[in-house]
């Protein structure tokens, strides 16, 4: 099964990835095929694993103030700042619709 253009477009919106060309899409297809091998395993009655850390102990920290107060350092990374605030565009800039984007997906 190939991944539909709608799904690819949806993914580009959600993750802001750019499949760029057929090789990018092909790589995605192969990754899905690889993961699909999991379906060959019989998991009846087996509790799903949460993560490879699931047997580890979750460390609990004491409620002390140990960090912060590094405004200057943090703002060094900012391209634009206004009086110690980060500056961002007025709202999310939506990715243009498929028809309006210069994307490989348009041609599919």
């Amino acid at each position: 099964q190939k991944v539909s253009v709608e799904v690819l477009d949806h993914l580009e919106h959600l993750a802001l990835v750019d499949f760029r060309d057929s090789e990018g899409v092909e790589r995605l297809q192969k990754a899905i095929q690889f993961a699909d091998q999991l379906h060959e395993v019989n998991t009846d009655g087996v509790e799903p694993m949460d993560s490879v850390l699931e047997d580890r102990c979750l460390y609990l920290r004491e409620d002390d103030v140990t960090e912060g107060n590094c405004t200057k350092e943090l703002l060094e990374n900012a391209r634009e700042k206004v009086e110690e605030y980060f500056v961002a565009p007025p709202g999310n800039i939506p990715l243009p619709k498929l028809e309006e984007r210069e994307t490989f997906l348009q041609g599919s």
Binding site: L58, L60, Y85, F86
Partner: protein, 463 residues
Amino acid sequence: LAPWVPVVGLEIHAQISSNSKLFSGSQVQFAAPPNSLVSFFDASLPGTLPVLNRRCVEAAVMTGLALNCSINKKSLFDRKHYFYADLPAGYQITQQRVPIAVNGSLSYSLCIDNKMSQLVTKTVRIKQIQLEQDSGKSLHDDTRSQTLVDLNRAGVGLMEVVMEPDMCCGEEAAAAVRELQLILQTLGSSQAVMAEGQLRVDANVSVHHPGEPYGVRTEVKNINSIRFLAKAVDYEIQRQIEELENGGTILNETRAFDSKLGCTVPMRDKEGKQDYRFMPEPNLPPLILYDAKSLPANMNHQQVINIDWIHERLPDLPSVRREKLVEQYGILPEHSFILLNEDGLAEFFENVVKQTQMKPKKVIGWILQDTLSYLKQHSLSVKDSPVSSCLLADLLNLLEKKEISSTAAKQVLAELWKGEGKTPLEIVKEQKLQLLQDQKELEQICQAVIDGQEKEVIMIVLG
């Protein structure tokens, strides 16, 4: 016209009262210079990892127990992805699959009429409580077409309390939230002050005809007080009913409450249905909680959270406190409801009772009618009252000892409210309000009155 059944559910975010944030050691504080309470993790710099704050877990367990929930001994953390300038990581760490507490209930009271003469108890089911991160704050600068971002709030611990759609109107929603607020404040798990953003409420509203399936629901945000919550919910119910009766449809959308106009309006930045791509938080193992039975023998104390230990140390919840006040002082449930509803009023009442011989049943009238109405008239809180419990007790003692009449007492109270520092006794002397106890003096006055009204006396004597 067929009747409409409104359905109201609530999602409440309560900021956890803690010194530091949920997953980092930066400070939690309301007003501070922008971006001064931000660690590298909060700013989502690469290479940083979340470290769970024990106090936040305890706060969530306390709250879950107080709301009669089952505490999940194993709960999980997930990532909820969406893009917004005040969410630097591009995702929020939350508990979507298995939250820390589920299936609880909250009982609240409201009066049938507006006269506090009949209290009715209702219950709303608590679907779940989950731990999650707060986002930073966006300040919209429309003139320069930009948004200023302050991450001080980013990463602060939140408890999201989800209430099932068991409510039917603004009044019920407001009463339920008020009770939750009192519970959180009693537990200390959150200070729950709505004005400071420590308690945020989103309402889910829909309407349907009895017997038919639930209607499409809308989500109402930007509600900044309990009063506005009631207004927003009632407005939205009306709007939906009118829309449907005019043949329109309800969109499954998010709307903002405009407190100035008293209405809800569609929110701009929400593009249709969001796909949050939930995934397990790969950097956090499951959160395991213990009870007396499952407590592991050789674990470091500091690393273990014992649900039973927390249960044993829960303070008296508001409902229990109300019952105790009724039992101890012989006041009505309606009275104890008001006492707890007003910040500091119950303590005030108890302090007055301690310092006066007047029976609590009589004192309560002076608290709820006179004191409370003065406070409301002048928009004062109990702690800012110019009349202390001490002064009021002195006044009530004069009344109890029959040194003044009840009318005189009200006059003195009015004078005390000016806050000029005079004692009740001083005011009584100044205004000559003492009741005369001397028999002879009383006879003299009566005789003088009789002497001065010869005509009337003759008429009375003649029948």
